[in-house]
């Protein structure tokens, strides 16, 4: 394991677009790949900074996403604005614990996991930690993967609003909260994308 040498030591750089390994010497003057003309960087520049910025944006957006109602339902049974957490409680109380669990995972557990995971990655990279490097890489992959699934809530609201249009009998309309939630998902995905997992393995003095 320790025998593995870093590209920096070898004087190599990898084009992340076409996969060409180039020696640093053969790079063109503006650092572009000789084959596909993509920019080749040894490490994504400002990776941690951008990741942090997106992460903070995500956390900030997550607050109104939860405080503001995501959906407005109206009809003969009355009118109600429901927030994400309120909806979960509602489902839980009415016995639909499975739906409640699903919404909870998609809209609370997943974003939090992402916040914590990215935060952890940033923190360890910042302090050049050698702790659990393999697991942290796996964590990064998981974060990237589950990013898509956080859109579940947004899709639920979008579908409900689109399908539930029965005029007086019942209507559902999206509310501002869902836009913020959508923002959270997008921003955290960007955050995960901005992170350069190679940093986990970097050993700087």
């Amino acid at each position: 394991m320790m025998a593995l040498r870093q590209s920096l030591e070898l004087g190599l750089a990898l084009c992340r677009t076409c996969g060409l390994a180039v020696s640093r010497a053969s790079l063109e003057s503006d650092g572009r790949c000789p084959r596909c003309q993509s920019r080749i960087e040894h490490r994504t520049p400002f990776s941690t900074e951008m990741t942090l910025a997106w992460l903070i944006a995500g956390i900030v957006l997550y607050i109104p996403a939860n405080l503001l109602p995501v959906m407005h339902t109206g009809g003969l049974m009355g009118e109600a604005d429901s927030t994400i957490l309120g909806g979960i409680f509602e489902f839980w109380r009415s016995g639909d614990w499975d739906i409640a669990l699903l919404i909870f995972i998609a809209s609370v557990a997943v974003p939090f996991t992402k916040f914590i995971a990215i935060g952890l990655l940033l923190l360890t990279v910042r302090y050049n930690s050698r702790w659990q490097q393999h697991q942290r890489t796996a964590l990064y992959r998981i974060v990237e993967f589950i990013g898509y699934w956080s859109m579940l809530d947004v899709i639920v609201v979008a579908l409900t609003s689109a399908l539930m249009q029965f005029q007086v009998l019942g209507t559902a309309e999206p509310r501002a909260g869902i836009a913020f939630f959508c923002g959270v998902v997008v921003v955290t995905m960007l955050s995960a994308l901005s992170f350069d997992p190679r940093l986990i393995w970097d050993q700087r003095a």
Binding site: L10, S23, A25, G31, V60, G78, E79, A80
Partner: protein, 551 residues
């Protein structure tokens, strides 16, 4: 190979790699800052929109749910129930509600809250939406300047939840009839308002509050009369049967109607705050009665058919009604007179009343009593009369009967006691009874027997006449016919008798002519008797005439 070229490139590389777009990644910080700004602005907005929290106490919290039950003003949600609990003494339900910021101005000390539930009445159906959606709390803002955060909820919704423009007024009535809150108010069969409240006053009468909506409140005048329009008015008049009703809803649920009263009746310019609610249109449109005066009458006869409410007519004009029929006892005569108490409205006498008032006869009880005294001396009597032979109902007529025996009148007794005479119908009855008795006393059987013998005689005579007298009469008639025939012939124009008669007549006419001439001559010349007739000069005139005619 690897180490040698790296060294120099290491020196060159950083220069083009990093410089290029150093500021671009920094731009990403705009995102969290923007997010933070939006978040904080939302927070501030939310905090600013945080409206007041109020507590409303109700007797029952039926259907009120935390978080679900809304507070609505004009059907617009202005808040929701945040908590429901019991008061300390467990007598009321305390409902806490969070209202939105813009609802703050609605909260006045006299703002009213009530729970909207479905209500179905004859006149209207309301709150049906709450059948499915659950109840909500209605709100009607007040006019007070003070604001309040604790309210006592109404158990029944106010009739006018959000005041449309118009005029509210009070009607005073002896009884409310079949009116109910929400009953319609009509102006010429057009619904212009509603009954909004009914109150039983401490004196037992009813006060009805009505609301007349905006453009129609202009029809309200000081002379406006209100009447109860419930029910159907069926009238059989000289022009046939007429059925009148305001609307079917009014028939079922009750209703009011108003219209201009007789204009000359009220001179007051200012609008009265309280109107009188009359029983029906006829009563409402009658000129004002003024204060009633009570009179009492003792009748020495049975008065079957006189009811409370029977009319009192003065010279044919209805001026009042019977209020009580009582039985008295006269010690002196050991009789049971019927005592009828009635109220009369002197104002109903119309012009007569005005004339009397102008002379000061109605100023006080005393002057009025004295006036009635003089009228009694002139023959004013109360007399029960039959109003309808069919029903046997009676009314009391106050009329001048100069032929009636003199009666004592004590003007100091209150109520005034009018002398009475027995009703015409009883005199009639007595007369009829007398006739019947006479008829009864007739020796009918004997008359019939006599009549029978007479008729038998008559029959014999007739048969004799038939057998004997008739043939003779026939002969006589033929003889008469012949006689007449000959007379006819004799009198014919061509008959010799006629001719000689006519000659004789012309002879005698010329004779008479001569005699008249002789008499005239003798008149002018009486001497002719002695001297004889002198020759007469021919008058000149015919000659002159002929000479005139010649040329």
């Amino acid at each position: 190979m690897s180490a040698a070229p790296t060294q120099p490139s290491d020196d060159e590389l950083p220069t083009p790699l990093v410089k290029n777009r150093r500021w671009i990644p920094r731009l990403v910080w705009v995102v969290p800052i923007a997010a933070a700004v939006i978040g904080i602005s939302l927070l501030i907005k939310n905090w600013e929109n945080q409206g007041p929290q109020i507590t409303i106490s109700f007797l029952s919290g039926e259907g009120v749910q935390v978080g679900k039950t809304l507070v609505k003003y004009r059907d617009v949600t202005v808040g929701h129930v945040s908590a429901v609990g019991l008061s300390a003494d467990h007598k009321t339900v305390l409902v806490s509600a969070d209202l939105s910021k813009d609802a703050e101005s609605l909260l006045k000390a006299d703002t009213q809250f009530w729970i909207v539930r479905p209500r179905i009445g004859v006149g209207s159906v309301s709150g049906l939406g709450t059948l499915l959606s659950g109840v909500y709390i209605g709100l009607k803002t007040g006019t007070a300047t003070l604001s309040e955060s604790h309210f006592t909820g109404l158990e029944n919704p106010p009739a006018l939840s959000h005041g449309p423009h118009g005029r509210e007024l009070q009607l005073h009535a002896a009884r409310a009839g079949s009116l109910s809150v929400g009953a319609p108010v009509y102006f010429r069969q057009f619904q212009v308002g509603r009954v909004i409240d009914e109150n039983l006053l401490p004196d037992g009468s009813t006060r009805v509050s009505v609301f007349v909506e905006a453009p129609y409140d202009g029809f309200l005048k000081p002379v406006t009369r209100f009447w109860n329009a419930s029910g159907i008015d069926v009238r059989l008049g000289a022009d046939g049967l007429s059925v009148q009703t305001e609307s079917l809803a009014a028939v079922l649920a009750g209703g009011l109607a108003f219209d201009d009263g007789p204009t000359e009746a009220v001179a007051a310019e200012n609008m009265p705050g309280e109107f009188t609610l009359y029983k029906n249109e006829t009563e409402a449109m009658a000129p004002p009665d003024g204060d009633p005066r009570y009179i009492r009458m003792r009748f020495a006869q049975a008065l079957r058919g006189i009811d409370v409410g029977a009319p009192i007519e003065f010279v044919g004009v209805n001026i009042g009604s019977v209020v009580a029929v009582d039985l008295g006892y006269d010690f002196q005569n050991k009789t049971f007179p019927v005592i009828v108490t009635a109220k009369v409205y002197p104002r109903r006498m119309g012009q007569a009343y005005e004339v009397l008032a102008a002379q000061g006869k109605t100023e006080s009880e005393e002057t009025l009593a004295a006036f009635v005294g003089t009228m009694v001396n002139r023959g004013l009597r109360a007399q029960p009369r039959s109003a309808s032979l069919l029903t046997g109902k009676l009314y009391i007529a106050l009329d001048f009967l100069p032929a009636s025996p003199r009666a004592a009148f004590d003007s100091s007794i209150r109520p005034l006691e009018l002398p009475t005479v027995n009703g015409t119908f009883q005199e009639l009855e007595a007369g009829v009874a007398r006739i019947v008795k006479k008829v009864n006393d007739l020796p009918l059987e004997q008359i019939v027997a006599d009549l029978h013998t007479d008729l038998t005689d008559l029959h014999e005579i007739l048969s004799e006449l038939h057998t004997r007298a008739l043939p003779n009469a026939e002969d006589t008639l033929s003889a008469l016919h012949r006689t007449l025939d000959s007379a006819d012939r004799t009198l014919d124009v061509e008959s010799p008798l006629q001719r000689s008669l006519s000659e004789t007549l012309s002879e005698s006419r010329s004779t008479l002519q001569a005699v008249r001439e002789l008499a005239a001559y003798l008149d002018r010349h009486p001497d002719a008797l002695l001297r004889g007739r002198r020759p007469q000069k021919m008058p000149q005139r015919p000659a002159a005439l002929s000479s005139d005619a010649k040329p």
